[in-house]
């Protein structure tokens, strides 16, 4: 069977990419292998662990459950785009650092993408709301407590810097 190839053009972190992709290529593999944006991690590859979470038009999605061909003319954001301005960490990244919110770090990119979108929508979340928002991201190291602490602190920092 001839590979089923499609030309796509999409924006990732504000950069436009044009590629020819086989229809069965997952978005997660496309980001890592074709665009060499390996910050998006691949864990379970069936939508359970959340490590591969990216933003599609601003909303968190599992990139292992989307085909690259489906992202034609769409906008994707990955962890590489979080600290764009001169290498300064995003408040959520800084809070994860300050509160020891990661150990092995494998789940971290997915958690950062999930939570930056969440904190944009809910600027003053309760601890319960943070835990609910985190429920789709597995972390086997931290026991989550430090991640929750980091998110509550990040929310505070982000509120303080709001106009």
């Amino acid at each position: 069977m001839e590979p089923d190839l499609h030309d796509i053009e999409l924006s990732v972190n504000g950069t436009t990419y044009r590629r020819s992709v086989e229809s069965r290529m997952l978005l997660s593999d496309f980001l890592r292998h074709e665009l060499h944006l390996a910050g998006t991690h691949v864990g379970c590859e069936h939508g359970v662990c959340g490590a591969c979470t990216v933003l599609l038009d601003g909303h968190p999605i599992r990139s292992c459950l989307m085909l690259a061909v489906q992202t034609n003319a769409q906008e994707i954001s990955t962890v590489e785009g979080l600290s764009a301005d001169g290498g300064k960490l995003h408040p959520v990244q800084q809070a994860m650092h300050d509160h020891h919110g990661l150990q092995c770090g494998y789940c971290t990119p997915g958690i950062l993408m999930t939570m930056t979108a969440f904190l944009r929508e809910n600027t003053a979340p309760s601890e319960d709301e943070v835990r609910e928002a985190l429920s789709g991201n597995l972390c086997r190291c931290t026991g989550y407590q430090n991640i929750v602490d980091a998110m509550l602190a990040a929310a505070e920092t982000m509120r303080a810097s709001m106009p």
């Binding site: 069977m1 590979p3 089923d4 499609h6 086989e22 229809s23 069965r24 290529m25 997952l26 593999d29 590859e45 069936h46 939508g47 959340g50 979470t53 599609l56 909303h59 968190p60 999605i61 599992r62 292992c64 459950l65 989307m66 085909l67 061909v69 489906q70 034609n72 999930t114 969440f118 609910e132 928002a133 429920s135 789709g136 991201n137």
Partner: protein, 292 residues
């Protein structure tokens, strides 16, 4: 690459999608949110030769209300939109109870109501809610359209009445009855996991607080959503007292035949179903007249 090779076609219109389905039949699967189909393809449990991507069909998404008051939900409406549609949630409060139980935010940002119902997972919440609410499924093909009641739509695990050339395009929910209350409850091992058992309950009362209508449907305890409205009908003509509700719950326990799974024995599932039935009916009854 994880999935087996397939031919991908993005549908440019509903007519285009239906023409493709008529052409490819069972060889083609519709790709909606992909939150159940793509995992199955990643495991190669599902290897459709053709994928028809219906995501471009904006005409199949959205919530409208007909003049008669019925609520029409387009099959491509995502959970995310349902969660944020205040008017819809007030008209169909079972959804307000159930949506937070459906997987996680990332999944709800992509998954669609039509994809969920067409997938027909017996542990899933929405098929049971569609049965409890007496929803109707509107199916289209290039040859025409038809409607089928939710109670006849689900015919087995992951199996529906949808024919090889048809697509689920619209789900129609009846207008809510006055003096009604509803409740959906479920128990899962972890937030967002598949339900060990779940119960959707709806009761309608008259001015004397006597029950005039009662609906009950369960998920996770059978090969399809289980319509237990015959058990709920024990309430009709009576007040929703503790004894009356206990009688319904015990009838539910006698009639369901859960198969058990790695997380729960059949007896435990039955126990949960009985307890949840009591709680859901009690809460539905409490909510009558509160608009909740």
């Amino acid at each position: 690459m994880k999935p087996a090779p397939f031919k991908y076609i993005a549908a440019s219109s509903l007519d285009h999608a239906l023409a493709l389905k008529a052409e490819y039949g069972d060889d083609a699967r519709f790709l909606a949110g992909g939150q159940s189909l793509v995992p199955a393809m990643n495991f190669r449990l599902s290897q459709p030769p053709v994928l028809i991507d219906v995501n471009p069909l904006d005409e199949c998404a959205g919530i409208t209300r007909s003049e008669g008051g019925e609520i029409h939900v387009g099959a491509l409406t995502r959970y995310r939109e349902l969660e944020r549609a205040g008017d819809f949630l007030r008209l169909c409060p079972l959804f307000a109870d159930a949506l937070p139980h459906i997987a996680h935010p990332q999944i709800r940002n992509r998954g669609t109501i039509g994809g969920n119902l067409a997938h027909a997972d017996p542990a899933s919440e929405l098929p049971a809610i569609a049965v409890a609410m007496e929803a109707r499924m509107r199916l289209r093909s290039s040859a025409g359209q038809r409607e089928i009641a939710a109670s006849e739509f689900f015919i087995g695990p992951l199996t529906t009445d949808i024919a090889a050339n048809e697509m689920l395009v619209d789900i129609v929910f009846p207008s809510p009855k006055p003096r009604s209350g509803t409740c959906f409850l479920e128990i899962a091992r972890r937030r967002g996991d598949f339900a060990l058992a779940g119960v959707a309950a709806a009761v309608t009362l008259d001015e004397e607080q006597r029950c005039t209508d009662a609906r009950l449907a369960l998920c996770g305890v059978g090969e399809t959503p289980v319509d237990a409205s015959h058990a709920a009908s024990l309430l009709i003509g009576r007040r929703c007292t503790r004894d009356a509700i206990d009688a319904v719950a015990s009838e539910v326990g006698n009639t369901i035949a859960p198969s058990g799974n790695v997380h729960a024995s059949p007896d435990y599932q039955r126990h949960i179903a009985v307890v949840l039935t009591k709680r859901a009916l009690d809460m539905a009854h409490t909510r009558v007249g509160h608009g909740a």
